[in-house]
């Protein structure tokens, strides 16, 4: 136990010295994940903010240049107006912008701008219309790059091998839904229970009579027994088989070594 404590403490010290967050809080991804810390000080979010700012500045300057050119000569520059390209609703990758929240998202209005638009051929909607997600209104969020699509299909491997006679007795017993957890009565130790004989298991028992010996009185008791079907009908004995079994309980149960007989009784 002492070694375990030392091991745990050692691990904590070792790991805490390795972590990039040793100087501050441990992010809790259940609540909020800030991104990977770089240099122990600046989070990815901060870096992402800077990148976003740079990107916006670039886009903004491009827009400004375009507007200046268009003001100068509207007809000349309208031919490269790419508004519809950048606002094509087929390529709307933002799943959370429902129709009622996103004024730019409207499939019907989209069709008027793009006569070739068809859900069945759309890059995002194609193939997913039949999915269970379609009914929830965000089926369009699943593009082909989505890991959701990467399902692994497998088939059942097959074995080749021998069979044999398989006893299904254990399976029949498993389907027996008759239960009894009570003894016939509270049986005193060492006493016989003759009342059990006449009950429902009369054909499943064999009564044995014992002679008096060694100071014990003679008496009788019941053993469990089973008879081949038809054996009590009187006529010829039904055939039995030397090849019966062989797969008892699902295992190949024919012995591979000569067991011989079981020898005689004492």
């Amino acid at each position: 136990m002492k070694q375990l404590k030392l091991l745990v403490i050692g691990l904590v010290v070792l790991l805490s010295s390795c972590t990039a967050y040793r100087a501050g809080q441990t992010p809790d991804d259940v609540y909020y994940s800030p991104g990977v810390t770089r240099g122990g000080e600046e989070t990815v979010r901060k870096q992402r903010g800077r990148e976003e700012q740079e990107y916006q500045e670039y886009i903004s300057s491009q827009d400004d240049a375009y507007l200046r050119r268009k003001v100068t000569n509207r007809n000349r520059w309208s031919t490269i107006d790419d508004f519809s390209y950048w606002n094509d609703c087929r390529y709307n990758f933002f799943p959370t912008t429902f129709n009622n929240f996103n004024p730019y998202f409207n499939c019907f209005s989209c069709n008027t701008f793009n006569p070739y638009f068809n859900w069945g051929h759309s890059f995002m909607g194609g193939g997913m219309n039949g999915s269970i997600f379609g009914g929830f209104g965000f089926g369009n969020t699943f593009g082909w790059n989505n890991p959701f699509y990467t399902l692994v299909h497998y088939g059942t491997p097959n074995f080749k091998g021998g069979g044999g006679t398989v006893s299904i007795n254990n399976l029949s017993a498993a389907r027996n839904k008759s239960y009894n957890n009570s003894n016939y009565y509270n049986l005193p130790k060492g006493t016989s229970n003759p009342s059990s004989r006449g009950q429902s298991f009369g054909n499943l028992i064999k009564t044995v009579f014992t002679p008096a010996a060694n100071g014990y009185e003679g008496g009788s008791y019941d053993r469990a027994s089973r008879s081949f079907s038809g054996s009590s009908s009187g006529g010829s004995m039904p055939a039995t088989s030397s090849s019966a079994g062989g797969n008892s309980g699902g295992f190949g149960s024919v012995g591979s070594s000569a067991g011989g007989g079981r020898g005689g009784r004492n």
Partner: protein
């Protein structure tokens, strides 16, 4: 496609015989409580919609997508089994402690540069989890004057119409041992012809029955998961799972005469069995988590059936003392099988399961000092009756029919049922307090077989300076049944189990 061929090759290696299985073996890989990190254990195992914990890789892989950081964790634990049985009016109790573990692995979360992908972030995880532990000792005893373990041998031999040669040699793990030791013997009909079989056990005077099984092993799962985060609103993910199962059981069963009469041809018999089952397979889990509004998360996960190839081994022996009838004799399967164990190989398809979940998270903000609490709930459906055993294509009609019978039996004795899990966490600056509970419904399709599992759990957590430590205690109340043997033509007897399992689990993790 490659995976399919690799798996086929693996499962086919060394196969010489494909045989069958008992229904209860299907339950071993289906009915178990949720295991994972100490944090997940403390909240009752409710993990379907929360995310941000590596256990998501084994429950709802979409939860990995909440990671934008990287972490490594280990989860050692201890299971304290306390078993209580009542068998035919006699109470028995026993304890068994064992090592176990929860989720161990690493997650790599990555933020995406804006404008380059519709995904805000993505994550990848490799982890291993012990879905179920088989470390236990189940022991019970009682008096029975209604049936005997030995009767299953009578039923088998008579049903198969086995003659004495077959009884001697064709059932070397059961009936042949009983026949060779004179625990069972023939009965004579007209003309002294064998008319059936009888047991030497004197049922009417009653016998003391003792069942003692020591089980070992576990159901382990290696998971490779990946997930994507779309605008911090929708999270989707899937994982490929490799289940590895090892199960062993040392069974000792004994019946002794309740009388001291040396003239009734029975003193005792002992049956010993050493059984091992090893399986390896593949499966998948997929899911999504959606945030309709801030602080709310809705989750759905689907676990595909796992295809597991098994190889079982069995050795058994039987000693019977029939007093003046034939004395004390012992026979072993090793003696009849050149020292070899019996083997069987087969495939099992485990039941599918679906999880619906909802969470409410207070303050999903960066500053951990202002994060306050969450409450989460799972509803899981498991179709236990969907477990299937598979034979080989091209096998004999007899064996094909046998597998159909096995599967029909499973459909008959099991049913689908609901599991419910609920958990909550209260969070302060660096410390967290957690409580949880769960209920697992019965898989048995019979009202007489009372079975369920209730779980109560609680734990503490500490997170600071890039490290986190969680400590949990969970207590599972088990109600189940155990059959020492099964008979076709008599009412079956079973032990009622009302034990519990206490689990102490610690998770140690760090961000890197």
């Amino acid at each position: 496609m490659k995976l399919k061929y690799i798996l086929t090759l693996f499962l086919s290696a060394g196969t010489s015989m494909l045989l069958a299985q008992n229904p209860e073996d299907a339950l071993r890989s289906a009915w178990f409580t949720q295991n994972g990190t100490a944090r997940v254990m403390a909240i009752g195992g409710a993990m379907g919609s929360l995310g941000g914990d590596i256990t998501a890789n084994h429950v709802n892989p979409a939860g990995l997508a909440l990671y934008k950081t990287r972490e490594f964790i280990i989860t050692p634990g201890l299971a304290l089994n306390h078993n209580r049985f009542n068998f035919r009016g006699t109470d028995t109790a026993g304890n068994k402690n064992a090592f176990q573990y929860g989720t161990i692995g690493a997650v790599w979360g990555n933020s995406q540069k804006p404008g380059y992908s519709k995904y805000t972030s993505s994550a990848f995880a490799i982890s291993v989890n012990q879905l179920a532990s088989y470390q236990n000792r189940e022991s019970f005893r009682g008096v029975n004057n209604m049936s005997s373990f030995s009767e299953q041998y009578l039923e088998e031999l008579v049903r198969d119409r086995a003659d004495t040669n077959a009884a001697l040699s064709n059932y070397i793990f059961g009936s042949s041992l009983a026949f060779r030791t004179f625990l069972i013997d023939t009965t004579s009909g007209p003309g002294n012809i064998v008319s059936g079989y009888q047991s030497l056990v004197p049922i009417s005077t009653g016998v003391n029955q003792l069942y003692d099984a020591i089980t070992r092993g576990g159901y382990h799962e290696i998971a490779f998961g990946t997930a994507g985060n779309v605008q911090d609103k929708l999270y989707v993910g899937f994982s490929v799972n490799l289940p590895i199962i090892h199960y062993s059981r040392e069974l000792f069963y004994k019946e002794t005469d309740r009388t001291s009469n040396p003239n009734n041809s029975f003193s005792f018999f002992e049956y010993k069995e050493n059984f091992t089952s090893n399986g390896f397979g593949i499966g998948g889990k997929l899911g999504l988590i959606y945030k309709p509004v801030e602080m709310w998360r809705i989750g759905f996960a689907f676990h595909t059936p796992q295809l597991i190839g098994f190889k079982d081994r069995i050795r058994s022996s039987l000693t019977a003392d029939t007093e003046s009838y034939a004395g004390t004799r012992t026979e072993t399967s090793d003696n009849l099988n050149s020292g070899n164990a019996g083997t069987r190989e087969y495939n099992l398809t485990t039941p599918w399961r679906a999880i619906f979940s909802v969470s409410h998270v207070f303050r999903e903000i960066n500053d951990t000092r202002q994060q306050r609490a969450f409450i989460t709930a799972d509803l899981e459906y498991v179709n236990y009756r969907a477990a299937r055993f598979h034979g080989a294509d091209g096998e004999s009609e007899q064996l094909t029919n046998y597998y159909q019978f096995v599967n029909e039996t499973i459909k008959d004795v099991y049913k689908g049922n609901i599991n419910a899990r609920l958990g909550a966490e209260l969070k302060f600056n660096t410390f967290m307090f957690r409580l949880g509970g769960a209920y697992y419904g019965s898989p048995y399709n019979n009202e007489n077989l009372q079975a369920n599992r209730w779980l109560a759990s609680g734990g503490l957590g500490y997170r600071n300076k890039g490290v986190f430590v969680d400590l949990t205690y969970s207590h599972t109340f088990n109600q189940d049944v155990r059959f020492p043997y099964l008979l076709s033509d008599k009412p079956n007897t079973f032990a009622e189990q009302r034990g519990s399992i206490g689990r102490v689990v610690m998770t140690l993790g760090f961000k890197f």
